[in-house]
């Protein structure tokens, strides 16, 4: 039972090259290069040409470990860096004024977190690790350089598209379509990272899936059971094996043209 998460938002700054790993509070800080990172293909540098990649790769980023259940950053915290997930899994949540909480996203390796702070200088969401994770801390100041700027635009643009997808999901889809869309989306993202498209471990609980999809946890559970009965997938707690991807797609677009 994790106690209240320790203050994980202690200031973390880039440290000079040549330093070995250093621990500060419960946060392990170690220098990292893009050029030796196996996420080059899906992370920030993706899309840059060779020369630009070289420059980005030369830059040194601070790395930070976040244990399962710990908070990478709290809403309200001042914004000065964005984060690239190296490994692990995060959920992003917003807390409304009246206390209601909603999960606004799940994020895996290669995805960029913390963009929500750019507008106001203050983060608007909580980011909690759903398994032991590691992120690169990229100071916002690094993005002065034009080629990286452009890259940042792309990343933000991708985020805008993602949000739009969630909006249409929540606005137009019925429960079973939402869960089908959710599973297909996960499948696709796992595939892009070299994992199985059809067999994976859900890192989040039913309640969190429900919150994300605008459904109650019971509805999510029932839908899993129904999908199982219908032979679309095998599900056992958090372990999922999709058996019929076209079937899920058909569910998602019931009257597809």
């Amino acid at each position: 039972m994790p106690a209240t998460a320790p203050a994980a938002d202690a200031p973390v700054r880039t440290i000079p090259l040549g330093n070995a790993a250093r621990t500060r509070g419960n946060v392990t800080v170690l220098p990292t290069h893009c050029s030796t990172c196996n996420l080059r293909g899906v992370c920030l540098p993706c899309g840059l040409d060779a020369a630009e990649q070289q420059r980005v790769g030369d830059a040194v980023y601070t790395r930070r470990r976040v244990k399962q259940g710990d908070t990478l950053l709290h809403a309200g915290t001042g914004f000065d860096s964005i984060y690239a997930v190296r490994s692990g899994f995060f959920k992003a949540t917003v807390v409304l004024e009246d206390g209601r909480e909603q999960v606004t996203g799940f994020h895996m390796a290669g995805e960029v977190l913390g963009l929500d702070g750019i507008a106001t200088g203050r983060h608007a969401i909580d980011l909690v690790a759903l398994e032991d994770s590691e992120v690169c801390v990229i100071p916002y100041a690094n993005f002065e350089e034009p080629s990286l700027q452009r890259q940042l635009h792309k990343v933000m643009g991708r985020e805008l598209l993602r949000d739009q997808g969630v909006m249409t999901l929540l606005g137009t889809m019925k429960a079973e379509e939402r869960l089908a869309a959710f599973l297909l989306n996960l499948s696709q993202r796992f595939t892009a990272r070299g994992f199985s498209p059809s067999e994976f471990h859900l890192r989040m609980k039913r309640e969190e899936i429900g919150s994300y999809l605008g459904l109650s946890l019971e509805t999510v559970s029932r839908l899993f059971s129904r999908f199982h009965e219908d032979g679309l997938l095998n599900v056992q707690q958090k372990h999922v094996r999709i058996l019929d991807i076209p079937g899920l797609k058909a569910l998602m677009y019931p009257v597809a043209a």
Copy 2:
């Protein structure tokens, strides 16, 4: 009855200073300065310091008129510019693969449109004018300059926050809370532009409000009637006069702490 909208996505480029207004097809193009624009306070330059504003203001932007019912840009069109609304009102819509359509936003003077194309180089949404409107066309290439870059980040960041707000609205709120939130949001945006916070004209129909809020048009209509009965507002077709803003807020956060 507007026939199918004429091709409003004809290429439009900045034209040299000193040229008078020029008409190209049904699109009127005229040069415009930020420094003489009365939207300085809410548009792109907002937040820049004096010197930066000067530079931005010196830049020349193409202006384009869009008649009610016409499409400013179609999904699938190549991305090369973003648009700042000078006057008028737009709706943004996404069309899903199976033909379902959803309104993803309403946009008024000073707001920036077309950011959705940055990631892929292709626009993902349709932008339709709900009244005769005018926009500034700002070529994406203009954003090389660092101070403007930063400004673009802020604008995109604001958009991310807005999307998040819509996500929580669609994910956690009940019908009456959604409509209350929608009206309060409109009220606030009108206020920021110097209009009445409590009395305004809805430019969109019930169906479009419903699509945006994830509700049927009948539910929207019924809620308007109910709010009217409850003395929260007067509504007569598209004319709305809010009588009890705190009452609407209370509806929005029913069990507020």
